[in-house]
Symmetry: C2
Subunit: 94 residues, 2 copies
């Protein structure tokens, strides 16, 4: 499994805009054969912080995901608001 967490700090007010578009991106992503999890979380005490927790069957499945049009569209939308992005791998429990 290939699992990671992306911590994203965005410009003030942008998180709500990103989360508004998230359900469509999540539905398309979760329908990809190699997707195990594609979950978004909102920080409870920092309104400009969110995380993506993603789990893929392997790195190739994630690479495939990055090539999809829906992925490119969602990234193009949210990256305009990025202030800081931290990518960290997770050691899966199972």
């Amino acid at each position: 499994m290939y699992k990671f967490i992306i911590t994203l700090d965005v410009t003030p007010g942008a998180r709500a805009k990103i989360l508004e578009r998230a359900p469509e991106a999540q539905a398309a992503t979760r329908a990809e054969p190699g997707c195990i999890a594609y979950d978004l979380y909102a920080c409870t005490d920092n309104p400009d912080r969110m995380v993506f927790v993603e789990a893929w069957v392997d790195e190739a499945a994630h690479a495939f995901h990055m090539e999809q049009e829906h992925t490119k569209r969602f990234i193009a939308f949210h990256e305009q608001f990025h202030e800081r992005l931290v990518f960290e791998t997770i050691n899966p429990a199972d």
Copy 2:
């Protein structure tokens, strides 16, 4: 650094109760000398899921945290609502 993510599924309606008590627990925890981060996140499309993202200077700092009265109080409160808990270490970016 010792960093991990705990994914918590709780009984319906319990997340709000836990988050109501979180600021007090977070203030006490963040004041511990070995605490780097103690952040909570709410899943955006599962109302009964939340994650803790915790970073400590080392495992001893986390062990110290687990011995504090405020920690025991907060855990005793939220563990009554646990339906599933997954603990996974994170490989810190920095």
